[in-house]
Assembly symmetry: C2
Homo-oligomer: 595 residues x 2
């Protein structure tokens, strides 16, 4: 079976036992009145072969991690309630493999979260792992590698969950267009990782290109055509790096889904002459608001509505530029192509300009506008527990640059936490939980004093159902007068963003500013330089869940923590998720330990 045939099979619903069970249950609930034409969850079965392949994401040939010979990987499109089965075949020659389903809550299937060292054993070269989970919330999601820096090697794709058939979104649109944004380096991830782990550390630098649906151009941009004509920018349109064109008909409303799986870059998205109506963030409805452009950080997703009400005989620029870091990459441009105009008809208006990269006031203004839509779930009024997570950059073990949380830089154990906890092995990770706060007199405005910073792998344990507040506190890096943006992503949960502020969080001053009325639900939230961000979540999902900066090199350098709860409630962990490290050893030598 070739990859095209596979894709064909993959998109057909199969009817194995679990489907029949769901069908029967639904039939009983509805008094046998349900018919197949109505909303019936189905099982969507995919067979994916993952391997390196030659590809030219930015017109420069390289190797990427492809799935079924595609880059980015195939888009999964499902309805709420559907069961997704991905049979992942590791065809990499020497590397392990996992896939994380970013934004999917994995209720009842924490072993399917796809995090190496946390939810499962990485799948060995040549072996197959079967992910099986239900998508229970509509929204714009994506999936990506979660071992080493395999995401940066190109292991990602889109996952779109539509409402149950027949159900309506709280806003109207005619069609949708899906954009997955990423950034791309010519240097292999092996070289990137060695650089980050070296002493002195070698930073990965800025990306060679920004990609839209896996397509971009290095040292070029079709913008160049706007001003001048550069040889290397002359594309016929059938190249792997040729821009993804947004084709629209006049006088319609489009839902543009935008997700960012960048390794590093914070991006800004704008369309010439068109306002964007923001309606969704991370799979949650937000109070709609109009904006000329959106900022999007790694790990986030948005839906914006546009109306194609401009001069129909023209095309318009779509522009994506870098924010938060001094860009060394030209903005990537593509076209909003009003059909039936030719794509070769260039816009008369200039491309939208990306706002100044360090205009944080503007970034904050955009971010603060994101609030929950009317009727969204509200947060509990009070939390049971509040933890503070101080984000610092530190020197560890004589000069290795790491990121640390409350003075501990996360170094994942080789045996996955979920397996170790379920089986009751207490030797594979630090049994002492990390600190829940940091010294009151910590000076966030200067480089860290670097006392006792160490690597660690302890876990924050919660009671099931506990209501937790986390205050993410930013600080100065190792360099004078420098603090960076970090987008933090929580696995297995959405959280309410109760507020943001500048400086150090002060309970006395800031408590009362927290928004308990209409805080947005999200799975990723940013902390601004020298600022804090407060979130609240209900620890109601049994499993082990990382909470970490979604910037790939930052996570590689230790910028994350691990949350766990209700492991006794986790059931049916596949053997393959347990078969490595100490868990394998214990289970083989002492089978009574089997969960």
């Amino acid at each position: 079976m070739n990859s095209q045939e596979m894709a064909k099979v993959a998109n057909q619903p199969l009817f194995p036992m679990p489907f029949l069970v769901i069908f029967l249950v639904l039939s009983i609930i509805s008094g046998f009145g349900i018919t197949l034409s109505e909303a019936v969850p189905i099982v969507r079965h995919y067979k994916w072969e993952v391997e390196y392949m030659f590809w030219s994401p930015d017109c420069v040939e390289n190797v990427v991690m492809g799935i079924n010979s595609q880059f980015p990987g195939p888009t999964i499109r499902a309805n709420v309630g559907d069961t997704i089965i991905v049979e992942m075949i590791n065809k990499l020659s020497t590397e392990g493999l996992v896939i994380h389903w970013h934004g999917i809550l994995q209720k009842g299937t924490p072993w399917a979260d796809g995090t190496a060292s946390i939810s499962q054993c990485a799948t060995n070269s040549g072996e197959t792992f079967i992910y099986r989970f239900v998508v229970d919330k509509a929204g714009t999601y994506f999936y990506h590698g979660h071992l080493g820096m395999q995401r940066a090697a190109g292991l990602y794709g889109s996952l779109i969950v539509d409402l149950e058939e027949g159900k309506k979104e709280p806003f109207h649109y005619d069609e949708d267009i899906n954009l997955l944004l990423s950034d791309w380096w010519h240097k292999s991830i092996q070289k990137q990782e060695v650089g980050l782990s070296s002493n002195p550390m070698r930073w990965i630098g800025e990306p060679e290109a920004i990609l839209i649906n896996g397509r971009g151009q290095t040292n070029c941009s079709i913008a160049a055509k706007y001003n001048t004509s550069l040889k290397q920018c002359e594309l016929k349109g059938d190249e792997q790096c040729a821009p993804f064109i947004l084709q629209v008909k006049p006088n319609k409303t489009y839902r543009i889904r935008i997700a960012s799986t960048t390794s590093l870059s914070a991006l800004n998205f704008a369309i010439g002459n068109h306002q964007l109506l923001v309606v969704e963030a991370d799979g949650n409805y937000v109070q709609p608001f109009l904006t000329s452009d959106i900022d999007i950080y790694s790990g986030e997703s948005y839906s914006v509505l546009i109306t194609t009400d401009q001069t129909p005989s023209e095309n318009y620029w779509v522009s994506i530029g870098v924010r938060g870091r001094l860009p060394k990459t030209l903005s990537v441009l593509t076209l909003l192509n009003y059909l039936p105009n030719s794509v070769s008809k260039l816009p008369v208006s200039p491309p939208p300009e990306t706002p100044d990269w360090e205009d944080y006031a503007r970034s904050k203004n955009f971010t603060y506008r994101i609030l929950a839509a009317m009727g969204s779930p509200k947060p509990p009024v009070k939390s049971n527990r509040r933890i503070f997570l101080l984000n610092t950059q530190n020197n560890v073990n004589g000069g290795f640059v790491k990121w640390a949380i409350n003075n501990i830089s996360l170094a994942l154990p080789s045996t996955p936490y979920l397996a170790a906890m379920k089986i009751g092995i207490n030797t594979t990770f630090d049994q002492n939980p990390p600190p829940e706060t940091f010294p009151e007199d910590y000076d966030i405005n200067n480089p860290p004093p670097n006392t006792n910073t160490k690597t660690g792998n302890g876990v924050y344990q919660y009671e099931l159902g506990e209501i937790v507040d986390v205050i993410l506190q930013n600080a100065n890096t190792l360099n004078d007068k420098n603090s960076e943006i970090h987008p933090w992503h929580l696995h297995g949960h959405d959280f309410w963003v109760l507020g943001y502020g500048d400086g150090k969080f002060s309970a006395a001053m800031d408590e009362k500013k927290l928004n308990l009325k209409n805080p947005p639900l999200r799975n990723t939230v940013v902390i601004f330089p020298y600022g804090w961000t407060a979130i609240r979540f209900v620890a109601d999902n049994p499993g082990v869940w990382p909470f970490h900066c979604h910037i790939e090199p930052h996570l590689h350098m230790g910028m994350g923590v691990v949350f766990a709860k209700g492991i006794h409630k986790v059931e049916r962990i596949p053997t393959k998720a347990l078969a490595c490290g100490e868990t394998a050893k214990v289970l083989i030598n002492n089978p009574t330990k089997k969960p």
Copy 2:
């Protein structure tokens, strides 16, 4: 503990239980008369951390797989009877890891042979595997990676076994010098592997440099100094790529140990003005013979004696060039430095010229001279079984270029054979043994007809103690009028090389030419273009042992077979060697299967 301290510890004998047992046994045998100053096997314990690191093997910075921050890895030096324990810690971020101890017979420890998919599960990122084996035969050996193409990534080092203390070699020398030869590409192994597995196949091309003890120069050679002065060839001597200088005193005899772990290249070694007396091949004594130069294929090792009887006020060139393929690399040169001359004193005589790369008559002449030393073990007079292995290059599955043996291209299973056989799992590899011969009318002088060439992973099974002859038969590749040299390496055994010939082996014609009088014992043997090579071995070592072309890309493309015997006699396989794939699953779900 830093790597220097580790190395220090590593070279000190430890005295754990096994040592005490050996000591007691020896004491009893010798009537308690043994003392520590005599030949007492010791346990040599090494702790190795394997990870990528920045390195400039050929003056061009790249990443290599280093061991304890060294490239090549640390040299193991032991005495016959010693136990080697290597605690291998996989610090690679995403890759599995094994280390093969090339030439070590692994009697009683087939699980320690270090072949992924064959003798053990690859060790996952972050985990540790402990190799433990006895070195029972003196000689010049080496170790290297045996998963994917990790050998080509630089994962190798020397392993020298001396006789028991107090015992004498059958030849005299004053000191020895150890040279490990390799070849080096700037392209990552990930890119090399993708190219080889692509359709159309992209060949890796010729190496950028030949390395002596991990040191070489690209597009340069200190030879350049001999004729002209190239800027890029000006080395101070402390660079990672600065040549390894052979320092000698006048009027002494030196044993130069030369082993080749090249990925591809056949090499020729010569020293200006000095004859070489060949005394050892692959850890076996050979009938000494004088030669101006030696050919050395990947997987082979030799010891040659030289006498430093030339003008003591001069230095002499050591030259290593490529044979068997049109070289695109300059010969690598270094110096035989007669002390106390300065290394900056260049030789007056020109460097030895590498013989023409396609002068196969000369290659054969050298190879045919290698015969067993007097008193070497003789082969059994008759074999119980003879198998023919036809080496062809084929198109498989519509254009993928592979190498095949009797029309089957080896594709290793993900569950190791040894584990599967020991536990009795028969689903992980083809239970039908591959064919033991090929059609009598096969035309070795033309490209293959390509009928039914397929990938496979069946095993040749032997009775324990069976005496086996293998006739390796070379043939034309996919290109007209082309046949290549392949050095075949057998794990777990030495074999007698009974003979070589041109054309197709004919029992009627060639049988009587086989040498049963003084055939050399080896672990690696070459087949010449369009020729055959006959070997004999006793299948007396329980385990699963690959027999394969030692050219890394050829093995990657399927050029090998797997031998197995006496698995019921294999004991004490470490759990870690079993904990992957179907073995892990079966052992966890059905503990009664535990061996």
